[in-house]
Amino acid sequence: MAGYILRRIGLAGLMLFGLVCLTFVIANVAPSDPAALAAGPDAGRSQIEQARREYGLDKPLPEQFLRYVTDLAQGNFGRSIATGRSVGTDLARYFPATLELVILAMLLGVLLGVPLGVVSALRKDGPVDHVTRIFAVSGIALPPFWFGLLLQLAFATWLGLLPTSGRISVFTEPPDPITGLLLLDNTLRGQWPLFREALSYIILPAIVLSLPCLASILRVNRSEMVEALRMDYVVAARAHGVTPWRIVMVHALKNAMLPTLAIIGLRWGWMMSSTVLVETVFDWPGIGLYAVSSAIAGDFKPVMGVTLIVGLNFMVANLIVDLLYGVLDPRLRRA
């Protein structure tokens, strides 16, 4: 098992290096001139050249890359050229908002997707199966911005039950962050009114973000369960008198969870990046919104930072999935 873990971590390290290279290349093929942006709209040629030297942009690319890597190693994401703020500080501020959204969306996806997948498999080609199939297909097909607008219209404008956008009311003094996740912080402090307020803001974007994730988990889990329930070991378990509940929830589901886990890992990374649309619709102050506004301004350091964070999430999620595979499947521990 130790060898398996080490190998997985080693692979993740290689992937991280590839990711760093990629973000650097992307930033350097971008068509804007960061030095001109830094010097301001009215700057002359000499001022732009001075900015170029200041930011080290006049150095040859290999040297810039080396500096980029050493900075990253020290946790330094560089400075935003437009605002002059440290990208690391900005990310620390915006990332928890996105993380909270993605965690809630993932919880919805897993806690609804897996049981619905199991039920659909057990009632294969029955009414329940048809309903979840239609639900899943629409979940994947609906564009999130459109669905988000629809929910805002229904729950905020017509019913007036939930706020339209933002993370918390502008009149509410946000408490000092513990983790930066509002729901968790307010639970830790026992501040239930604030918890309810935060929940009312997060629930709609979380639903919109989770729908495609929920749909794909449901479909994968359903087809894997159908497959598992047909296996010889299920026939044997029935013949030996194992209870139907144990057969479904342990003997078959454990096997079905392997491919489902892979989808969960991919969807985690996918949500981190697709949150851009959801955050824009709901004005959610996360890294998606941050990346969009920076990209529009041609400010490449924040975009690189966000890309790194998203890529890192993909990697960590897949590393965790790989490790869980090893826990679930004893055959992998030796391989």
């Binding site: 070991y233 378990a237 029935r238 013949a239 030996h240 008198g241 194992v242 209870t243 342990v250």
Partner: protein, 328 residues
Amino acid sequence: MSALLEIRDYRLAFDTFDGTAQVLDGIDLTLSAGETLGIVGETGCGKSVLARSLLQLNPMPPARVVSGQIHFRDEDILRLPERAMRRLRGRAIAMIFQDPASYLNPLLAIGTQMEDAIRGQDIAASLRKRPRAAARARAAELLAAVGLPEPARLLDSHPHMLSGGMRQRVLIAMALAGDPALLVADEPTTALDVTVQAQVLALIARLVAERGLALMLISHDLGVVAASCARVAVMYAGTVVEEAPTGELLARPLHPYARGLIAAVPDLDHPERRPQGIAGSIPGLIAPPSGCRFHPRCSAATDRCRREKPLRRELLPGRSVACHHATP
């Protein structure tokens, strides 16, 4: 001896996209407590479907009971609801399977699978469910009973760590968990090496003798059946064509198909006698041959065989044959 298992005119069909396959076409068999019965036939003749019927393990649909009864003790298995059926599985009728690698769950430890079976049987029998530790102790006892060393360590292993022979022993141990009266063995040695085959057959024979089990052993291999069963039923395309005491069948088969089956076995004592195949192949069951299902492959077939399905009749005491032309 009273009959433990009595199968009467059992017909089972599978509804498929291409039509209805008459997989079992009027099976009549009787098995008394402690008796051993072998069932032989080519692949696809319905042996395994028959075996699974005894525990209602065939998926329905597509499978559908057309007619008949399967009486086990006083109950008709075909009419038992699923809940009542669960009471029988493992505790009255137990089953071992062909390929122990695929019939053990790859992700669960041997101990977990055995405990689940033992505790599940407790629940089905409306007994208080044994605590895990007690079930585990029972599982270790069973593993020791089938001659597996270090049962305690084995309980924590996963199936992929065991050899084929060990896996089959584990499955046999699981089948013994509920002290069944009838053991159904569906090709228990087909997936094993020949040397391991002999060990597993010896183990089954020992358990049958020690525990007074009735045994229904299904195999395509006459040798396996001859080694373990007092009586044999030969199946062809969903029907039993001949039933006889094993020795008598091997010495003098009466049905043309049984004759062909025996002629197809290589004879180690007379290597100069080449094994003979049976011409043709097993018929499709969606549109089976009219009359006797064997007639297209039978050299003795007449017009009557094409028209009229032969009923199985007793030609000699304990020997019955389904052939118009068979004579004692």
